[in-house]
C-alpha cells in the first residue's frame, strides 16, 4: 500500500482563523498527508472575516503538500454563486473540488476534482464526470465495498474514500445550530463556532443519534476504515481522506500512514486510534453494506 496517499479533507467546522491557521501549520510541518483540501464547504456565511487561507497555502506548499480548494456543497443565492465563481477563477493555479453542479459547470473542460457531495452511484455517472475533466473523485461514504470495487474497475480518475471522521449525512438551507439556540439563520450569531466537532444530537431516551454542524447534519459516530484499507488498495483506490476533527490530526494521520505502510496491523492501528480518542464511537457499516452507524468486526 506504499503508493496509497493520504489526504486531509476540508475542515467542516467553524473554527476561528487563528485556530485554523495553527492547525494547518501543524499539518504542514508534521502530518504525513499528501493532499490537503482547503476552503469552506458548509456555509458561505462563515467565509467573511477568515484570513488564514494564503498563509496556510504557503506553509502547506512549502512543506510539499498538494493543496486542493474545496467549494460549497449547497449553492443557493448570488452570494454563494459569487463565492463559487471566485473559487473557479483559481482553477489555473489549484485543483478545485466541486461539491455542487454549479461548480462542475464552472470547471467543465478544465482539470478539477469532484467531491463527495456530488452523487456518483454508478459507472456511467463516473464516466460522465471524467469526460468533463475530473481527475480526482471523492466518493460518497454511503457506497458499499461492492460499488467501490465496480467503480474502481472502470475509473481513470484517482478515486478517494473517506476513512476517518464524522460522516456528512445531509445539508439544508435551514441552520440547525441556530435552531438549537432558538435563533434563525440570518441572526445566527455564528453559534456553530461553539462546537469544534459538531453538536451531538441525542434521542429522548439519551441514545447517541447524530451531530449537527450549522446547515449540515453529520453522523454521531466517527468513521474509521483502518481495517479495510488493504482491500480498498487492492481494488485500485489509492487516496484516503481523513476528515479534520479537533483532535491531534498529526497523530491520527500517522496511524493511518503507518497502517498503509504495513508498519502496524489493523488491531495495532485501532488501538492507537482509540488511545488517541478514547471517548469516540467508531463505525464502518456503510463499507460493509450495513447501516452506516454499525461497527462490523473485520
Amino acid at each position: 500500500m506504499n503508493k496509497s496517499k493520504l489526504s486531509l479533507g476540508p475542515l467542516l467546522f467553524n473554527w476561528n482563523s487563528d485556530k485554523i491557521r495553527d492547525f494547518y501549520f501543524a499539518i504542514a510541518d508534521e502530518a504525513p498527508v499528501d493532499h490537503v483540501y482547503l476552503g469552506e464547504v458548509v456555509c458561505s456565511k462563515r467565509i467573511a472575516g477568515k484570513n488564514y487561507m494564503l498563509e496556510a497555502i504557503e506553509r502547506l506548499e512549502n512543506a510539499g503538500k498538494k493543496v486542493i480548494i474545496s467549494g460549497l456543497m449547497l449553492v443557493l443565492d448570488d452570494r454563494d454563486l459569487r463565492v463559487m465563481a471566485d473559487i473557479a477563477e483559481m482553477a489555473s493555479d489549484y485543483l478545485i473540488e466541486a461539491n455542487d453542479m454549479s461548480a462542475v459547470s464552472l470547471l467543465w473542460g478544465k482539470e478539477h476534482a469532484i467531491g463527495p457531495f456530488i452523487n456518483i452511484y454508478n459507472e456511467a455517472t463516473l464516466k460522465y464526470y471524467e469526460a468533463g475533466g475530473a481527475k480526482r473523485i471523492s466518493l460518497a461514504s454511503e457506497l458499499p465495498a461492492s460499488s467501490l470495487r465496480t467503480l474502481a474497475a472502470v475509473a481513470t480518475a484517482e478515486l478517494e474514500v473517506q476513512v476517518f471522521g464524522r460522516l456528512p449525512l445531509a445539508i439544508s438551507s435551514r441552520c440547525y445550530h441556530a435552531r438549537a439556540h432558538k435563533l434563525n439563520k440570518d441572526g445566527c450569531q455564528y453559534v456553530c463556532n461553539r462546537d469544534p466537532d459538531g453538536l451531538s444530537v441525542d434521542t429522548m431516551d439519551g441514545q447517541k443519534f447524530l451531530a449537527i454542524n450549522g446547515l449540515q447534519t453529520l453522523s454521531y459516530t466517527y468513521c474509521s476504515l483502518l481495517a479495510e484499507l488493504p482491500e480498498m488498495a487492492e481494488m485500485g483506490i489509492n487516496n484516503f481522506r481523513l476528515s479534520p476533527h479537533d483532535v491531534d490530526m498529526v497523530r491520527v494521520s500517522q496511524v493511518f500512514r503507518d497502517r498503509l505502510d504495513g508498519k502496524i496491523d489493523a488491531a495495532q492501528a485501532n488501538d492507537a486510534l482509540e488511545a488517541e480518542m478514547f471517548a469516540i464511537e467508531f463505525s464502518n457499516g456503510y463499507y460493509h453494506g450495513e447501516a452506516g452507524l454499525k461497527q462490523i468486526s473485520v
Binding site: 449553492v75 453542479m101 454508478n122 435551514r174
Partner: protein, 327 residues
C-alpha cells in the same frame, strides 16, 4: 404570469384515474421497483398499467410523467435502463430523473422523450440548472425545497426552462438527493433504495400512557395520551441538542402553498407538485380538488387559502423554505 399546471401523485392506477378526474393537469408515477423514490410494498405501476394510464389520461387531456428518480447502482443499471426504454416506447409525456449517467443515456438514446430534472438532483441555482439543460436537454426542473420565493424568481430570470415546485404534502427539511441520514440509521436510503425511514424498521412501543415511535431501535418521538402520534420519519422527531429537547430538524408538518400561489406565479413558476404517491385515493382526490380551485382562483387574481389541516401531517401546515423565516 404563467398558467400553473397541477401535478398530482399516483401510487396506483386507481389513484391516477382519481387524480385525472379531480382535475389534475398531469400525474406522476413510478414503476414497481427500485427505479423510483417511493419504492414501497404494494405501490406503483407495471409497464402494462402505464400503457393503460397513458390512454386514460390522454383521453381526458392530462399528462403522465414517469419518475425514474433514484440512482442506478454500480454494476446493475439494467432496471433503470429498462424503465427508461419502456417509458420511451409507450411515449410517456416525460420522465423525471436525477442520475447523471441515466440522464446522459436517455438524452442520447431517446432524444424525443421529454426529460424533467427531479428534485432528487438538488439543482438549487441557475448555473447548475443551465448545465443540466445544456448537457441533457432537460425541459423542466423540479426545484429543491430549500429556496425562497425571491430566490426562485431570480432563478427563473436566468434559465430558459420551466420550473416546478412542491406545493403540498410531506416536506424534506434537507436538500433532497443529498441526504443519507436514513441509511446511516437503517441501511436504506432514498438515493440507493428509493425509501426513507422504511416501515420495515419502524416499531411502536406503548409505555404507560405514552406511545414511543422507534426507527431501528432509536426513539424518534414520544407522544402523550392527548397527542396525535406521527410516523417516525427520522428528521421529524423530537431530539435533544444543547440540553433542549424539541423538533430540532422539522416539526411533523405538511407543506401547503395555497396562500402564496400568487407570489409563486409572479416568480415565474410553471407547475405545482403535490407530494404523496404513498397516499390514498381519497387523499389524492381531496388535495387535487382543493388545488384545482385554488389555482383557478389564482388565475383570476384571487387568493383562496385552503387549510387542509385534516390532510396534513400532525395537523400543521408550513410554507417551508419559500418563506425565509423558516430557515
Amino acid at each position: 404570469m404563467t398558467k400553473l399546471e397541477l401535478v398530482s401523485p399516483a401510487g396506483t392506477p386507481a389513484a391516477l384515474r382519481v387524480a385525472v378526474d379531480a382535475g389534475a393537469d398531469a400525474v406522476y408515477m413510478g414503476f414497481r421497483d427500485e427505479t423510483n423514490a417511493r419504492n414501497f410494498p404494494g405501490l406503483n405501476f407495471s409497464v402494462d398499467e402505464l400503457a393503460e394510464a397513458l390512454d386514460y389520461a390522454h383521453a381526458k387531456d392530462a399528462k403522465v410523467m414517469v419518475a425514474i428518480n433514484t440512482h442506478a447502482s454500480a454494476g446493475n443499471s439494467e432496471p433503470w435502463i429498462k424503465a427508461i426504454d419502456n417509458a420511451a416506447r409507450l411515449k410517456a409525456d416525460a420522465i423525471i430523473m436525477a442520475d447523471v449517467g441515466l440522464l446522459d443515456y436517455a438524452h442520447r438514446t431517446h432524444p424525443d422523450l421529454p426529460l424533467h430534472l427531479s428534485v432528487q438532483a438538488s439543482a438549487s441555482n441557475a448555473v447548475a440548472i443551465n448545465h443540466y439543460t445544456r448537457e441533457f436537454g432537460i425541459r423542466r426542473v423540479v426545484l429543491p425545497r430549500v429556496l425562497t420565493v425571491p430566490e426562485i424568481r431570480d432563478i427563473n430570470g436566468k434559465i430558459n426552462i420551466k420550473t416546478e415546485v412542491f406545493a403540498f404534502g410531506g416536506m424534506c427539511p434537507m436538500a433532497e438527493g443529498r441526504c443519507s441520514m436514513s441509511s446511516y440509521i437503517t441501511g436504506k436510503s432514498p438515493n440507493m433504495n428509493g425509501v426513507c425511514s422504511p416501515a420495515s424498521d419502524v416499531s411502536y412501543v406503548q409505555q404507560g400512557q405514552n406511545l414511543k415511535t422507534n426507527l431501528s431501535g432509536f426513539t424518534i418521538n414520544e407522544f402523550g395520551p392527548n397527542e396525535q402520534a406521527g410516523y417516525p420519519t427520522l428528521c421529524k422527531g423530537r431530539f435533544t441538542a444543547n440540553d433542549k429537547t424539541g423538533y430540532l430538524f422539522e416539526e411533523p408538518t405538511s407543506l401547503n402553498v395555497t396562500d402564496i400561489l400568487l407570489e409563486l406565479m409572479e416568480a415565474g413558476v410553471s407547475a405545482l407538485k403535490i407530494e404523496g404517491r404513498q397516499r390514498s385515493k381519497a387523499y389524492v382526490r381531496e388535495v387535487v380538488q382543493n388545488f384545482r380551485k385554488a389555482i383557478d382562483a389564482a388565475e383570476r387574481g384571487e387568493r383562496l387559502v385552503i387549510e387542509m389541516d385534516n390532510l396534513s401531517e400532525g395537523g400543521q401546515n408550513t410554507t417551508g423554505a419559500y418563506n425565509k423565516k423558516w430557515m
